[in-house]
Amino acid sequence: GYGQAQTLKIATTTSLEDTGLLTVLESEYEKKYPNVDVQFIAAGTGQALEYGKKGDVDLVMVHAKTSEEKFIADGFGTNRTIFAYNYFYIVGPATDPANINGSNATSAFSKIGTAGAANPTEVMFVSRGDNSGTNTRELQIWNKTDLNYTTEVQGQPWYIESGKGMGDTLILANEKSAYTLSDSGTYLAFKGNLTLTAIVTQGKDLLNIYSLIPVNPAKFPDVNSEDAQSWIAFVTSAEGQKIIGDYGVDKYGQQLFIPIAGQPEPTS
Amino acid sequence: MHLLEIQNLTKIYEGKKVLDDIDLHLKKGTTLGLIGPTGCGKTTLLRIIDLLDLPSSGKIFFDGIDITASNVKDMDIRRRIGMVFQKPIVFKGTVYDNIRYGLKVRGKNEDSYETEIFKLLDSLGLAGYEERDASTLSGGETQRIALARVLITEPDLLLLDEPTANLDPLSTEKIEKLIAELSKKKHTTIIMATHNLIQGQKLSDQIAILNKKIFQMGTPEEVFLKPAHKFVAEFVGVRNVKKGTATQLEPDLTLIKLRKINIYSISHLEGLVYASIRPEDITLSKMKVISSALNEFKGNVKGIVDNGGLIEIEVDVGEDFTVHMTRKSFLDMELTVGSEVWLQFKASAVNVFECEC
């Protein structure tokens, strides 16, 4: 824009919006680009991508690699830029009835599955069941275990599908004293209200990478691709990356996101 | 020129004929009394004329316009017709709000009618009522408001459905005067449904006796004095209706054989007939008197009813007759039950009408 007020519509996943990071990035960005009004539309991963597919937003910020690649392959997005990562946590009751402490994610899931089948009132697992980035990752992990997801996990009495956002799923798991898989941001935000503890917090399987995908201007000529590019540039700039790296330290006592722009995609 | 012309009008409710082949013609400026027993169709007929209900068949012409035709704008007709409903209801609001309603919908400048409204309220005995909440009025007050509400619109045709049913005699008299004036001064054409015979007769130029169909239509005199059917006779309160067989004796004299006695009349009807004699046309005396009355019978007093005005005496002369006399003559004659009396009436006092039996 040339002095003309522009809006930049960004569809994002609810869990990312909920951390509050985007608000900080937005205000810094808007200081630089006073003519641009950044608007975040928080939705489920599928829904956020759906907005992109219809050309209703200019950019999507999500964390579900498979879906993202399909989005680009179908021509809706131009390219994928990773900008931060953190880890998913396997959280559960402090008593850890499935005894997963110290295991890696795959074996932790195996243990939960076995213990749950043996004692479904003591050991439970709550799944978001909403095709979100988190849920997609959870399924990937289940598929790495020796359990058959469709016959031995889904539909079992110990396996609860909440079909809700991360926060609500945490609350549900808390009420049921169950295990669940959570992104670290939401878990830290809810920690104060929960008796659940984060038990498994590291490992390649728990890696959670966030990326930026501009909507394809060739497909949707109305799309504000100019500002989408400047947003990407800002987020991946040194300044943007510093904001991301610092975010949450004062509030949660720990880093919520690890900046990653310009680096190769981590694998562990 | 007829203001209203009804042709072959029939109304059927749930397969039941409520109005049957009504024909009615009404000249501008005349008042028609629509009289009949309860459930005879008075309200139904008025509602149809006011375009609130549709006839099952038949035609109605108002001022030459066929108002049953589909291309007629009901509102234009209705604005020339006013109706006071039998069960009067009021709009929410004050009495004044109610009365000016008709002006408001006609887009008239209400303010210019203010004095007229006050005059109208006054003439209806409701002065000072204008700010009253209309829903708290008494039965009779509501009925008068309903009348005022219509009168302020100065309709060409005024339909009144039992307009004084809830009113006492004094208020009734007031309203009757108002209606009579309306007819005289503004030449308003009026149809008044009423079961109040006296009222019907007092105010009407024409009377129609209705009982699903119109049994008789004519001037009040005609209808009350010469009922053309037994139904009319009974309904208008004709007493002493007797069935008999008539034979013509002379050009102007017929003998009617009743069950036990024979009476003379000047009618020309023959065969099975009804004969009636109005109670006030019968004279009683303690002795046989030489008079011009052809019908004279001896009998006994069977009953005495004092209903405040006239005294009603039942006399048995083979047939029972009801006789009316003033309190004074009654006291003078010193009649008691059982007294022997002579009863006379003229042949011309015998009203003969067809027997539908």
Partner: protein, 228 residues
Amino acid sequence: MSEIINAFFQAINLIVSLDPEVIEITLRTMFISLSSTFFAALIAIPLASLIHFNKFRGKRSVMNVIQTLYSLPTVLVGLLVFLLISKSGPLGNLSLLFTPGGMILGQTILVIPTVIGFSIIGLRGVKEEIKELALSLGASNLQTVTTIMGEAKYALLGAIILGFGRAISEVGVALMIGGNIRGYTRVITTTMSLETQKGNVELSIALGIILLSIALIVNLILNQVQER
């Protein structure tokens, strides 16, 4: 727009193919919303009568409060009931959270103000004279109330159908209290939000169509009952 047409076909398909999960969710939806409507009517109509038939100070204020509660957001009801029945809440030991019972409780609370409000409007539609006629003919206060309800039955049914509509279409309470647990507390509206979040617009619309079909059937039945 083609999505809408597809959604129609998908809805028909889901119904015709007797998709077991759809059937299960549909039945649960009906059970929960009919139950809440039933309980709400059971509480609201007597309350409405109490308010309508008694003169008391502050009646107007009560009416204002009721009308205000038409605006009760489902999320708020969800939250409050959640606090009430969560483990640490005062009714925690009833274990109602994340159960159909809890959802019924929440929806009942949600629906009550509307049913009360419109029942009162319905009762108010009956002429004062009918009340006096009933009393004069020797009806007890209760019988008078029943008579007036009979006269107002069309409007009362309207209030109940409205309550049902609100219950079956709400999602806040169902999500917060029910938890949208698959096979246990998942109902049509929560499935719809879930599928919407997943980006499955057509499936979501198809479910919406199924929901409206249920509503239509319930309606027709209630109207039938009222006729008699």
